[in-house]
């Protein structure tokens, strides 16, 4: 049964400004500052991965006709707005995070569940106990952006970065909670925008398929990298294992959704994550690849990432844009 968890904006923008004026008088209001998401992306890197389909990473054609396999799509969205600066350049950021599962019924997408949260993000050590308590007594939740920091952050950009990471963390948490619920309650496959290795129950579920569009980290180097970047339309790479200390092990492969001739090598290239198959790695990779290829239409235009984005994910984003 679809449900929605939504924390509505308790204040209008003007009301929030007035309330912050009263609650944190020792601060300076700012307007029109760029969202934190636009600053300082992760550095690109190459990473090693263990190939579990064959000996070396190779290009493989996806066997069989494309088929519709996914019953729903999950994506999250976040937005940040720096509202004020305390002395020392400590930002107070209004962050909104949300996630939605859009279920496909009779070729139309409807909401299975969505969640939206809003909170004020700031560094707890930089405000007095009284101000912190006053902020907490308001209608918004208040999140400490530096609670996991090893040392007191002082650089204003570091504080902004911390706020952004905390918002991202909250967004991932909301996304994972929805994915967990789907995997617990449903029996049909779910396409998740992004990786699935963050949550154990999701990473081990055969229902969850993650589709990663960004390639800041490439799991190939040397000749293997040439193989990945040289994949043709409807070709995939061999399956490999993605593993890290903080994340679950998952099986992964690269898949070219569209013909990339005369475009950049990563055009139409996605990385797929699924739970480690117990057997028949090739069959599972081909099956899921066929499902993803079936989602290449309709294209996700006008989104600029339409070459990699499936329409269901764009629909989730548009839905969240409407409700957040």
């Amino acid at each position: 049964m679809p449900t929605a968890t939504l924390s509505p904006a308790p204040y209008s923008a003007q009301s929030l400004d007035r309330w912050l004026d009263e609650t944190v008088p020792d601060s300076v209001a700012v307007q029109g500052e760029a969202p934190l998401e636009l600053s300082n992306p992760d550095p690109p890197r190459l990473s090693q991965a263990l190939v579990i389909e064959g000996r070396d990473l190779a290009a493989r054609s996806v066997e069989g006709a494309v088929e519709v396999g996914f019953a729903a799509f999950l994506d999250g969205r976040q937005s940040t707005e720096t509202k004020r600066y305390l002395r020392g350049g400590v930002p107070i950021v209004l962050g909104s995070v949300g996630a939605a599962i859009r279920e496909r019924r009779d070729r139309r997408l409807t909401t299975w569940e969505h969640r939206v949260e809003r909170a004020l993000y700031l560094s707890r050590p930089h405000v007095s106990h009284e101000v912190w308590q006053a902020l907490r007594s308001g209608a918004y939740q208040v999140r400490d952006t530096t609670e996991d920091a090893a040392a007191l952050l002082a650089h204003p950009l570091a504080l902004r970065e911390a706020a952004l990471q905390r918002v991202q963390h909250d967004r991932e948490r909301v996304e994972e909670s929805l994915a967990k619920r789907w995997c617990l309650e449903e029996t049909r496959p779910l396409l998740i925008d992004g990786g699935i290795s963050g949550t154990e129950s999701v990473a081990r579920s055969t229902l969850a398929v993650g589709v990663v569009k960004s390639h800041r980290t490439l799991y190939a180097s040397g000749e293997a990298l040439n193989v990945v970047l040289g994949l043709e339309e409807r070709q995939r790479s061999s399956v490999f294992v993605v593993a890290s200390e903080k994340r679950e092990r998952v099986a992964s492969w690269y898949l070219r959704l569209r013909n990339w001739s005369r475009r950049d090598p990563m055009w139409g290239l996605v990385r797929v994550e699924v739970a480690m198959p117990a057997s028949d790695v090739t069959g599972r990779a081909d099956e899921v690849s066929r499902w993803i290829l079936a989602e290449a239409h309709p294209v996700a235009l006008p989104d600029s990432r339409w070459d990699k984005m499936v329409y269901g994910v764009r629909d989730c984003e548009e839905f969240l844009r409407a409700v957040m």
Partner: protein, 653 residues
Amino acid sequence: MKAARAPLGRVVATERRPNTPHEFHFWTALDSPVGIGTIVRVEGANPIGGHLPQIYGIVVEGFSYTDLMTPIHDLLGHDGTPGSASLSATQRTEIRLYTAHVLRQLPEEPLQPVPMGQVFLANDDDVAIGLRMDGYLKEGSRTGIPVGVYRAGGTDAPIYLDADFLIGPEAAHLNITGVSGLATKTSAIEWIMSSIFSHFPAQKGSIAAVAFNVKGPDLCFLDQPGEIGDDDRALYEKCGVEPGPFRNVKYYAPFKSDGISLNTLRSNEALSHNVLPLTWGLREVLQYAEVLLNKDDVDAKADALIDFIRERIVDREFSDPLLGNKRYLVRSFADLEAWFRDVLSALEGKNADGWRTHHVATIRKVRNRLSNISTRCAGLVTDDGAVSDLPFGSFDDRTVYVIDVASLEEDAQDLIFARVVTKLREHLEKRDLGVNHVIVFVDELNKYAPNDGQETYVRKMLLDLAERGRYLGLVLFSAQQFRSQVHRRVVGNSGTALYGRMDADELATPGYAVLSPAVKTKLATLEKGQLMVRHPHFTQPIFVRFPRPAVMRGRDGAERYPQAVDVDLDAAVLRSLRTLDPSLTLGWVQNAIGIREDEDVIRARNATLRERPADVRKFFLAQLRPVVAPQDAPRSTTATPVRVAPADDPYGF
């Protein structure tokens, strides 16, 4: 009840497309039953003055689009192959966005932009409130006249016009426009007249209708039942109107130019019981001479002479020294012609060029024009002054008086129209017509009241009727194909306007600029039996369905009751008099007519039809001029002696 219904849409507004007090936008599910003309109700979320606002609106425009920025994105997405679109696992997000015009806001003050809220399909009660019909559907003061049924999404709500605004005195008149050939205009008028006769409030008194049948057999079978289907029966039941022909109909038609048979398509003997002749004499016509005489004919001098004749000659004893003090009593065109002849002869005899300030040329001109009337309107205007007219003074309630002018010349049509309407107005002013209200139905209004061309008596009269008739209870129901070609003051004074299927060229004229493109499209594609209604209580036009009239269609009637063939005078007389006395036989008529002149027989027949005596035979015979009985020459009892020549006659034989 309202709470149990599920909303079908939500109000939306953006800075680019905001809501206003008169217009709002909402979206619906793709399978919602909303369309152009659907009436909806918006429930506002925030109370105004302690009341949750309720906004009633009618859909006037619809939009559909997807999340595509440009069509070429769709082409790119399907590699230029249209067929592959159907293979997509997911259909693009698509919206049905509608624009509605506000019918009513509650509370009515303060008048604010339409708020965000849920949108519901209007039910019967909502339709009544939204169209402000609740004001005139209250028990005890009900003045609603059903005009049809509003139908949308399972709602079947009767739509009522307010009799105070349809028949007067608040507003009045009805105009219907639409393309020819769909039988919409005539059918709608017949249906509405049935509805009025069924629902006209008792407190407003009596009502009758005078309909001019201007083309074909359209209105010739109003008293005959027609076939209707189950759908139509349901509409009749919903509107509370008994499906059936008009119970009381009387037909009037002039004679053909031969004066023998009536000039109407309703001449079948089986239907002749309520067909009466319409004939006028000099007195009836002279009052409306200007209808037939154009301005070139009637200058100030001629007008003065006509006035003199009307005031001093007609129906009065007249003598003049010029005429040798001979006494004249002019009662017919024949009398008038004799009088003219004597006047002109006397003037010629005295070699005079004028008489009583009237120049001989003017006298000749007026003689020529007036004498010509009986020729131009032969069959309607009689030389002998015989009159058979509508029953002014004894009109019956809920009765339709049809005057068939379809086969007449334009002059005769104008004359009939002008005189009948004027007489109706005179009697209504004096409150002695017999009924309190009269509906006058005129088809082809663009012919009688065009918006261009020279001023005519008929157009002036129609303007007067449209502008002042409602105070008297004289109501104009008019129809035409092109509303834009009718005088603006005539259609502008029609409180109620109906539109059937419209021609695209007509819809492109400025008069329809207030309608949205979608409403125009709907008007251009309206089915038979659908109308768009504008009425003073409705702030926006409403689409309704009306049932097929339960009367025989003109075409069916013409086939079932074919026109009687022209017959000899004796057979024509028999046919006419049999409506009064079915026992008459052709032999009796032939015997009665004998060797009399045709004119004498026709005059006697007409007098009998007018008088409708109890003893038809006796009355008819009494009207015939006596014929001198044949007598043998008297014979002498004694033989006449042969004359004998004188004896001394030398030349004798």
